[in-house]
Amino acid sequence: MVRFVSGLTVTERQVALVVLLALSLIGLAMAAAGRGDPMGAQGFIVMIFSVGLGFAVMSGYYAPEPDESRLSRYYDDPTKVGIVLTMIWAVIGMAVGVWVAALLAWPDLTFDAAWASFGRLRPVHTSGVIFGFGGNALIATSFHVLQRTSRARLPDQFTPWFVLIGYNLFCIVAASGYLMGVTQSKEYAEPEWYADIWLVIVWVAYFLLYLRTLARRKEPHIYVANWYYMAFILVVAVLHIVNNLAVPVSFAHAKSYSLFSGVQDAMTEWWYGHNAVAFFLTSGFLGMMYYYLPKRAGRPIFSYRLSIISFWGITFLYMWAGSHHLHYTALPQWVQTLGMTFSIMLLVPSWASAGNALATLNGAWHKVRDDATLRFMMVAAVFYGLSTFEGSFMAIRPVNSLSHYTDWTVGHVHAGALGWVAMITFGSIYALVPWMWKRQAMYSSRLVEVHFWLALAGTIVYVFAMWNSGIIQGLMWRTYNDGGTLAYSFIDSMVAMHPYYIARAFGGLLFLSGAVVGTYNVWMTIRAAHAEAAAGETGADVPIAAGSGAMQAGE
């Protein structure tokens, strides 16, 4: 903690204290005004969080100021903390995932406690992995990639901390709220109005930070990875603001009511939901892939032109596709047809991106064979291709009539989330951690290999279980007997799902074990770096002014 605070200038320390004080007062106000409402408990959490951090800043307040030479180095402290937070959220989010998977197979595991019911734990899992794990990974890597590809330092040292820590406060408020039953019942947008407003503030700071750094860049062109990271930040802001427009019952209550109702609300929600997949879980991670994959492979990007049409294809086409979540509903059919056709066209730029990544590996396939880190990224590109194909396929109305509401959807999401998002993240983290902590390699490359196989096996078990389960379920729901009655009751389909639910929980457990192994490996790498630093050996810092030629090989 002190190490990070001493990197800040005195002014930045003062700004941090003022912001934390303001935040703790907001927490106090929430706690006081929201007595007898979940908002009160949320206020206490905000207060404890900001007061705790305030003490941390004060503990390093009188440390000597950093000297001017810091300005000739990239600012990586927030990235380091972001990596650690990413791994922590991975373990939390995936552990809750295994828990809810077990609940589906053995529904009595709730101990008769409200907080342990499926409906409250499930968003802890989804938000934990998407926002906690995925979001921290995106923020941490974006700071790293942005500085390297712009050859510019972040413009100040306070804003990146504000973004990273503010974002994690949002995640904590969200997850703790779910356990108390606070939700606005919009999938992937469950947090209530006060958390949403806070995220807007954080997100605007994030976008401005990105623009300010880009404005300082010393490269004539903006690298592809930054297009994707910027699309991620900008579009998520738009989605988040529009979908969360709501009127609170009062400023002292957690509950709010959406501005939209009926089918308009459903359409807004799935315009948001599908573009959250597009711009949070795809664009951002493509940005990650466009930096760490060519870096690790030591190969140039296969085609700059392909990058351009993929980027604009994805950005333009995804916006229209959300209505495929509402096939055969009260949504007017013309909106469904539009969503379906744009989803079909979307396959081409998606595969162009996956193909661009895989073709970049030409000339480096021997490295893919030998290096589990690069293999993580390669497999991620393959799963990206597979799940985008599956997504376009499922968006076709007649296919959707079979797949909708079944476990097939769940399997599809996890092919993307485990196979693509998590794999590209773990690959990038294994590349990034040694660079950040000035190590030759990870603590154990064998453990990276173990993690890779656990993750791959877990994903495959999970996805196959859900394919089987989903298609059986879909077929059972539409099978008629001779008399023209549905042949199976709902319970019959539940009984048929049971073995696949057990298999799914097992696949998830494998994936979680991999994440635990990875967290241990990252932790041991950091420990080794600290032990070495304590022994008096200082890591060689790389001056920006020296130019790319003098950069450390791995950077």
Binding site: P300, F302, Y304, W334, A352, G363, G484, I491
Partner: protein
């Protein structure tokens, strides 16, 4: 154009830019990408012409096929209802006895009845209709109300202790809690009632039987009858058989007498069509228990 160096692996030149060591090749976009982009666009355009797609100011493009999902589903439901009417009309027209005498018709009724039963009734009565604590075993045929089809239909339609005006009503009084009987007399009658169906007596039961018989005669016969065989007009169970709705151990029977019981069954007439109720009645009436 400011082209960079040549890549030895692919033979392509780079764009000449470099970001922290990352370069990009000037590879033209593979033609297959344009082909599939064109093909996907063509498929989309065809769909746009065939189906309702584009919003216009006051309406939307209807599509050449003239498809409307609401019309489609209405037609499908009508067609399905018509196809089913081949046998459902017979179910509605014929008497219970006639239907049960027609094996082909009963086959269809039983298939449909099972799905209906498991979706609507199994939550309380169990998938195999064997019931559970507080919910009668329908396969055992130990009817609280009458077991004739007409009576079963009535029970399904109006429910038991339900919100329907014609509901069947039944209540076991809380003899102990409401002070009608002192606790020791409740114990006496419990010993007596348990002896009626030959249950393993508890310690000291033998000495209480005479007193219990007297308590029973004074308080219970109005509903359960002098022979304790129950009364189907008020839903009072037969106490001499082996079926126990709330459990046969001393504690459970004591709770029943002391605190009373009042089961509940919804009035399905508000939710199910007369056809569905008739099918369910036939299904329940012809159920075969596990042991028979």
């Amino acid at each position: 154009m400011d082209l960079g160096k040549q890549d030895p692996v692919t033979g392509r030149v780079t764009t000449g830019h470099e970001w922290n060591g990352i370069e990009e090749l000037e590879t033209p976009i593979p033609r297959v990408v344009f082909f599939f982009l064109g093909a996907a666009f063509l498929v989309s355009v065809i769909c746009w012409f065939l189906y309702p797609t584009w919003p216009l100011i006051w309406t939307y493009s209807k599509g050449l096929l003239g498809i409307d999902q609401r019309v489609t589903v209405t037609e499908q439901v009508e067609r399905a209802t018509e196809a089913r009417s081949v046998w459902t009309a017979q179910v509605l027209d014929k008497s219970y006895a006639d239907i049960e005498a027609d094996p082909a018709l009963m086959h269809l009724v039983t298939e449909t009845g099972r799905t209906l039963f498991v979706d609507k009734c199994a939550a309380c009565h169990g998938v195999n209709a064997t019931g559970g604590p507080g919910f009668p075993d329908l396969a055992a045929k130990a009817w609280l109300w009458d077991g004739e089809p007409e009576a079963i239909e009535e029970t399904i339609r109006v429910g038991i202790n339900s919100t329907n005006d014609d509901t069947r009503t039944s209540q076991m009084l809380a003899f102990g809690r409401d002070g009608i009987l002192p606790a020791d007399e409740v114990g006496d009658v419990v010993a007596y009632v348990r002896s009626l169906s030959g249950l393993q007596p508890a310690e000291g039961d033998a000495a209480r039987l005479d007193k219990g018989r007297q308590v029973f005669a004074d308080n219970c016969v109005a509903c359960h009858g002098e022979d304790a065989k129950g009364n189907k007009d008020v839903g009072a169970p037969d106490l001499t058989d082996a079926n126990w709705l709330y459990g046969s151990d001393v504690q459970s029977v004591f709770s029943t007498v002391y605190s009373g019981r009042q089961g509940h069954m919804p009035n399905w007439g508000a939710k199910l069509s007369p056809l569905d109720i008739k099918i369910l009645t036939l299904y329940v009436h012809t159920l075969k228990g596990a042991e028979n």
